[in-house]
């Protein structure tokens, strides 16, 4: 059975939205800021696209432009990844101290 890629990925997309919906409602409001910074970081998985584009075989003038464009995409996505995860970690470390006091 052949299904078109758009239906295949579309199904995954729809299911992931439902997963996201239920998982996000379980997040405690006290952690909404870290939620934003961590989702920010993971949305930078777009870095995958940037790397694929850099890996393009260099033929034709436009593919060189494409390489340069994707190089910048890579930089932006890495800023987003490193900044997002590390700042989340910094915030969560502060909450952690309280976790200990709770016990």
């Amino acid at each position: 059975m052949d299904i078109s890629p758009i239906v295949f990925y579309g199904s995954i997309f729809v299911l992931a939205i439902f997963v996201g919906y239920y998982v996000v409602w379980s997040v405690t409001p006290a952690l909404h800021t870290p939620l934003m910074s961590v989702t920010n970081a993971i949305s930078a998985v777009i870095i995958v696209g940037a790397i694929i584009a850099i890996g393009t075989e260099s033929s034709g003038s436009l593919s060189m432009v494409s390489k340069i464009v994707s190089f910048f995409a890579l930089i932006f996505a890495s800023i987003n990844i490193f900044g997002g995860f590390l700042v989340t970690q910094r915030m969560l470390a502060m909450y952690k101290k309280k976790g200990k006091k709770d016990d």
Partner: protein, 466 residues
Amino acid sequence: MTNDLTTILYLLSGVLFILAIRGLSSPDTARTGNYLGISGMAIAFIVTIVNLDQNNLINWLLIISGISIGGLTGTYLSKRVAMTDMPQMVAALNSMGGMSAVLVAWAAFLSPGSFGLLINGFINTSSIIQMLLGILVGAITFSGSVIAFLKLQGLMTGSPIILPFRHIINILIFITILGLSASMVLDTTGSHTFLFLLVTILSLLLGLLLIIPIGGADMPVVISMLNSYSGFAAAIIGFTLGNMALVITGALVGSSGAILSYIMCAAMNRSFFSVIMGGFGDEATSTQSNENRPVKIGSSDDAAFILKNASSVIIIPGYGMAVARAQNALKEMSDKLKAMGIKVSYAIHPVAGRMPGHMNVLLAEADVPYEEIFELSEINSSFPQADVAFVIGANDVTNPAAKNDTQSPIYGMPILEVENAKTVLFVKRSLGIGYAGIDNELFYRDNTMMLLADAKKMVENISISL
């Protein structure tokens, strides 16, 4: 690596991202969750690298230098940012994600062959549609986030900037984008680089115009919304590239941001649409106010005296506390109160601050114990038993007009019912009206004392007097 294995590993990183968000259901599991998220990202990254042509030296140079530049910048930013500035930080990072999506769409557009998007030498129709959508959403995310950043950072006025005919302008731009896109989609045989550029520029402009009329206090909604967009942009690009990790992650982030926007809107009793239309708090809506009604103004000594004689105090922090960076001073004051055997708790309104959960982070930074912090629904019933409600840097979220005055622009908004406390202490810089442009009835009540000063100084002085 085979395509199947690649896809399975991308799926694995998607699952790790889900677990990362799931971890945030409690502070105890959140840190583990963050590590799972980092692992998910590492897996996605390594899988992609392994699938590249290993012998191309230039590619390696580009990748290593790109990651080093981005990684160092990101690391530097994350270490340096103050917790009070988290909303700006998130806006800035968000703009990076949006820009990255735009650039990846461009890279795919310029070199479709390497993504396998060509049919008979031209980009296939569904890929073109996806790229255009990716550009639209990514560009709006980018320019919108930049504007949000500038507003939050104070580099641009936080009050709404209202252009004449702005709705008509926005609609015209959107229709033009649709028209240009349609002409690209219908004529699949051209290269259309110029049209693609035009769509990009118009989308950037649209993002800018959409955010400039939105005022500072609506930022929690805007930031959540832009967060959601950056997810959807990634998901759309995921369709183009046929990449499982992007599709799953994009959907997750998209729904997360959407839910947060919904929660923020509900907390203001405003529709998402009315927030996005902007302009709130621009017109001076107050009519009956400022008739020089008597106000009790107190000093830090007076406040200290009242606090000392209380047995239960509820502190209501707001954006003003963040601006004055008063959280540590506040913690010190409450430590002194607790040492005297006074019960101290904190009440946080969902839209306090400039992003969801902003106050919680600031209080966590100041080492305020987690169990002393309560949400609106948990604490509202405790105000009648409280001796003192200590409002610091908040205003509209305590305004009883939201319950009593059907004419008020904030009517219907759930508020912290501080008026039920025996005494209300209001730390404020001046008697000015709140963000919503409405007077707060509470200021004029007999049991209210205004403490007019910089929040940090006032709290420090109260600590000294205690």
